[in-house]
């Protein structure tokens, strides 16, 4: 019961801050609501017994990615923000389209059946969870782990190559 109340609070704040993120005029305000969203998603992860992922969510998403966004938003001039239109001319169609998708998915979920037995108790792990996660990551999923490091390297080199000034400029 207590868990359900906590989940309800997290869900309401997540959805409200998501809507505020995509409707704000100033991108800096959007980033701030995004920060609130990430904190509450980390809370949902804690509810799901994924404490390590909650920490990763806060450190990587809120600490690194969002700060990167904030830097670039502040680097570029936003003086046109107060006068320019927020949405493109198709936005009522797109909002209706989104509501249609949401209604369809929620209808499907409400009519479907889900196993109620599994997951009613905390995850049964031998240790703290971090150890199991590390073993899985370095043994069974070693090749995807290495591919992820290559993706990070490509992102690093690509960002530097794209953003550096050319000699002719």
């Amino acid at each position: 019961m207590v868990n359900q109340v906590i989940f309800f609070y997290f869900a309401v704040v997540i959805l409200a801050s998501a809507i505020l993120t995509i409707t704000q005029k100033n991108p800096i305000h959007s980033v701030m609501f995004m920060l609130l969203l990430f904190f509450h998603i980390a809370g949902v992860f804690v509810l799901l017994n994924a404490e390590f992922l909650a920490a990763v969510q806060l450190i990587v998403y809120a600490g690194a990615i969002l700060i990167l966004y904030l830097f670039v938003v502040m680097l570029l001039n936003v003086d046109r923000e107060s006068t320019a239109a927020r949405a493109n001319r198709f936005w009522p169609w797109m909002a209706g389209f989104g509501a249609l998708i949401a209604a369809e998915v929620i209808l499907l979920i409400a009519r479907g059946t889900f196993p109620s037995e599994a997951g009613q108790q905390p995850m049964r792990l031998a240790g703290s969870g971090v150890k199991e996660l590390g073993e899985l990551l370095y043994q069974k999923y070693l090749v995807p782990f290495e591919v992820a490091s290559i993706i990070l390297l490509v992102g690093l080199v690509g960002a530097v190559m794209l953003a550096k000034k050319r000699a002719s400029d």
Partner: protein, 100 residues
């Protein structure tokens, strides 16, 4: 305890908000942030299924999603800086060089 369908409904609603953000906003920053919203919706789904099937595989995949999101954000923000430097705008409906 919390039923699995609650997590899926939360994730679907978050994903839909992300879709509406991508399709309807003009500012390219908000579009990128809406893409992050969609990735987070997928993450909630993965962690919920991981918990309900009592295995850790979903959590591993969330880590990969976060890695890809970090790389994507770095490259996309570099492209935005290039766009605003070369074309002087960050509004996507002003880029009509291909007459789309």
């Amino acid at each position: 305890m919390i039923p699995l369908s609650w997590y899926i409904i939360l994730s679907a609603a978050l994903f839909t908000i992300g879709i509406v953000g991508v399709l309807s906003r003009r500012n390219i920053f908000i579009i990128l942030m809406s893409m992050e919203l969609m990735l987070n919706a997928a993450n909630i789904n993965l962690v919920a299924f991981s918990h309900y099937s009592q295995t850790l595989t979903g959590q591993i995949f969330v880590m990969f999603v976060i890695t890809v999101a970090a790389a994507e954000a770095a490259v996309a923000l570099a492209i935005i800086i290039l766009l605003s430097r070369n074309r002087g705008s960050i509004y996507v409906d002003e880029f009509n060089i291909m007459k789309g």
